[in-house]
């Protein structure tokens, strides 16, 4: 196969969610002289775009979008040694976590994965995250955005605590704050002074994209 054909084959293996083939073709493409940049732009980006479209057209499931994203990530890992330390360009950085006392992390995980698929760098603090941890991460990682998830009525209030802790640490103005999870509503987001709210992952990603665009 020619280099061009191999780049297409990688793209198609992403669209077909075929992890093994994508790996095989990537190694072959590198052998055939494709640059990591080419693979990223022509194979991964295009593959993800097609999958994204199929999802929007209700042909693919969100789970398949996520699998495609993971395949893309795995390919990138293969490419890393060839990238000579040139960091991948990310559109923005997000620190995300489920708040203290709340162990529901599936929704949060989906949001994190979708953000990654949208080329955000995501630092996932996990579930049951106390305010101090959020503050620390903002200090150390200097993200554009802080995302919080809560599914319990009991733990919703923790979101306000995090915002207060950020204020106290003088970090509130440095980041945008977005919240989500079945317990919270847009109103609640407003009432505690969050900058944004996402009823679902797609919406959350849209809001985050807008923010980094405005920058």
């Amino acid at each position: 196969m020619s280099k061009e054909e191999l780049l297409d084959a990688i793209r198609d293996s992403i669209v077909n969610l075929d992890f093994d083939k994508s790996k095989e073709y990537t190694l072959k493409a590198l052998e055939a002289g494709a640059t990591p940049q080419e693979i990223i732009l022509k194979s991964i980006a295009q593959g993800m775009e097609i999958v994204g479209k199929k999802f929007e057209e209700s042909e693919y499931f969100l789970s398949e979008l996520i699998v495609a994203g993971e395949i893309g990530k795995e390919i990138t890992k293969i490419l890393e040694p060839y990238l000579k330390g040139a960091e991948m360009k990310k559109v923005g950085k997000v620190v995300i976590g489920t708040v203290r006392g709340d162990l529901h992390d599936i929704g949060k995980n989906i949001v994190a994965m979708m953000l990654e698929a949208a080329e955000f760098k995501v630092i996932d603090l996990g579930a049951d995250v106390p305010p101090e941890k959020f503050v620390e991460a903002v200090k150390n990682e200097n993200p554009d955005i802080v995302g919080m998830s809560a599914l319990l009525t009991v733990t919703m209030v923790e979101m306000k605590n995090v915002i207060d802790a950020l204020k106290e640490a003088g970090l509130r103005e440095k980041v945008k704050v977005i919240i989500g999870g079945a317990a919270v509503t847009e109103d609640y987001a407003k009432s505690i002074g969050a900058d944004g709210y996402g009823a679902n992952a797609v919406e959350g990603v849209r809001v985050c994209k807008q923010w980094v665009k405005q920058k």
Binding site: S58, S63, I106, N109, G126
Partner: protein, 449 residues
């Protein structure tokens, strides 16, 4: 005890009747020709806990009297917060039970009282958080000695891996979680619960695969949501049946826990009475199985409703009224010998609209249950039952399946058959890879427990 035959055929299983019906609580009979409402509630967290429970219990018993509800069951599902305070738990169970007794005496009500203990373990901790495990057992003891009639739990062994797998539609991970890891935890847990219940002469009710099958159901969402395939959610339900059955194999007697929709399977296999929830649990989560799941229930529940004021009263009493009428309709059918007619309407209502409903239809449940009891161990029955479900879905032309669903079903068939060729090896090999990738996953702690 392993169950090796089925207690029902699709023709004779029906709501209100279970072969191993029960008498417990205050003159309550479950599964002997009567469907009983089981009401669940969630206290407002900004309020004083004891006062909330008092208010809820009183409003429910009053409403029962106002409506003429003769038999009912209350379920208190303890929250993580409440589990922190053993004294409080003892007091609140005591309070509810004494209120129940007072009303029952005054007004001749028949009442059962279920207490569900929260699974508070952090599976990422060494030995799966032994300290929390012990606390849970203490609270089961406490509940038993303070008035609970039925003990239940929605246990979560295996969920770290499940959560990782479900949103990646990774069937190997799902099988390894439900068919392997979870089974170790279920056995240990239910040995303990059954022994506590026996000691106090109360009932070991059952376990719900809520953290698995209901999570999948919730993520799958509505007919057009395209989050994960509905056929995936439906095979998760089937595999969950294999997992939740373990409670009964360890000696649970029911009534099974309401939110375990897999209870249809457990009823066919064990003959024990089961609680179910369907349309009225829309207040807690939407579902595509609102009617079909009622077809075989012995108790009928609403899932949790918050104690907030609505025009017609507080949330719990409003939903008790709805359950009251739903169960009355079923009981009238029984009284007139028309239970099978009503059951068939319930089934027809949902069966072909969605795979999740399809796998809860008694005829389908029967076919799959045969496979479950025919397999030699938990792991192989988990895979085999899912394959059978896939086969039945593929063969039913009238089942509403989108192109995407069909694509998934094809993939799932291949994948599951591949696993079935040598389940233990496949699973053990896969688990090695998951460790490290999956947060908090401690495979060894499952095997050693």
């Amino acid at each position: 005890m392993k169950f090796s035959r089925l207690e029902y055929t699709p023709k004779d299983i029906v709501f209100g009747f279970s072969k191993k019906f029960l008498r417990y609580g205050i003159d309550l009979e479950v599964g002997n020709g009567l469907v009983v409402p089981e009401i669940k509630y969630f206290p407002r967290v900004e309020k004083n806990v004891m006062e909330e429970y008092k208010h809820i219990t009183e409003q429910l018993l009053k409403r029962a009297v106002a409506l003429g509800t003769e038999s009912l069951q209350l379920e208190t599902e303890l929250t993580y917060l409440e589990m922190e305070d053993k004294k409080l738990v003892a007091e609140l169970i005591n309070l509810q039970k004494s209120m129940i007794e007072r009303y029952a005496k005054e007004h001749g009500l028949h009442v059962g009282y279920r207490v569900t203990v929260a699974d508070i373990r952090d599976f990422g901790k060494p030995r799966h958080d032994e300290e929390s495990f012990n606390k849970m057992m203490e609270i089961f003891e406490l509940a038993s000695s303070n008035g609970a009639d039925v003990l239940s739990i929605e246990s979560e062994g295996g969920k770290e891996l499940f959560n990782y797998s479900i949103i990646r539609q990774d069937l190997t991970g799902i099988v390894s979680s439900l068919g392997y890891l979870a089974t170790f935890d279920m056995k240990r847990l239910w040995k303990n619960i059954v022994s506590i219940a026996k000691n106090k002469s109360i009932l070991a009710g059952g376990d719900s695969a809520c953290a698995f099958a209901n999570t999948a159901m919730k993520i799958a969402g509505g007919l057009k949501d395209n989050m994960i395939p509905h056929s995936l959610a439906s095979i998760v339900r089937v595999m969950s049946a294999c997992r939740s059955l373990i409670a009964f194999e360890e000696g649970a007697t029911g009534p099974g826990k309401d939110c375990a929709y897999e209870n249809v399977y457990l009823k066919v296999i064990t003959g024990c009475p089961m609680s179910m929830e369907g349309k009225s649990s829309a207040v807690a989560h939407s579902s595509l199985v609102g009617n079909i799941i009622a077809a075989t229930c012995d108790l009928w529940s609403n899932e949790q409703v918050e104690n907030i004021k609505l025009f017609g009263g507080y949330g719990p009493e409003v939903f008790l009224e709805i359950l009251h009428y739903d169960t009355k309709l079923m009981n009238m059918a029984i009284a007139g010998g028309q239970q099978y007619c009503l059951r068939d309407l319930m089934i027809k209502s949902d069966k072909l609209l969605n795979p999740q409903a399809f796998v809860l239809s008694p005829d389908i449940v029967y076919e799959i249950s045969k496979v479950i009891v025919g397999e030699k161990d938990e792991l192989s029955r988990t895979v085999a039952s899912a394959i059978k479900a896939i086969e039945l879905m593929s063969n039913e032309e009238k089942l509403n399946l989108s192109k995407g669903e069909k694509r998934f079903i094809e993939m799932a068939k291949r994948k599951l058959e591949e696993i079935y060729s040598s389940p233990s090896q496949k699973v053990e090999k896969a688990l090695e890879q998951y460790v490290g990738k999956v947060e908090k996953l401690r495979v060894k702690d499952y095997l050693e427990a």
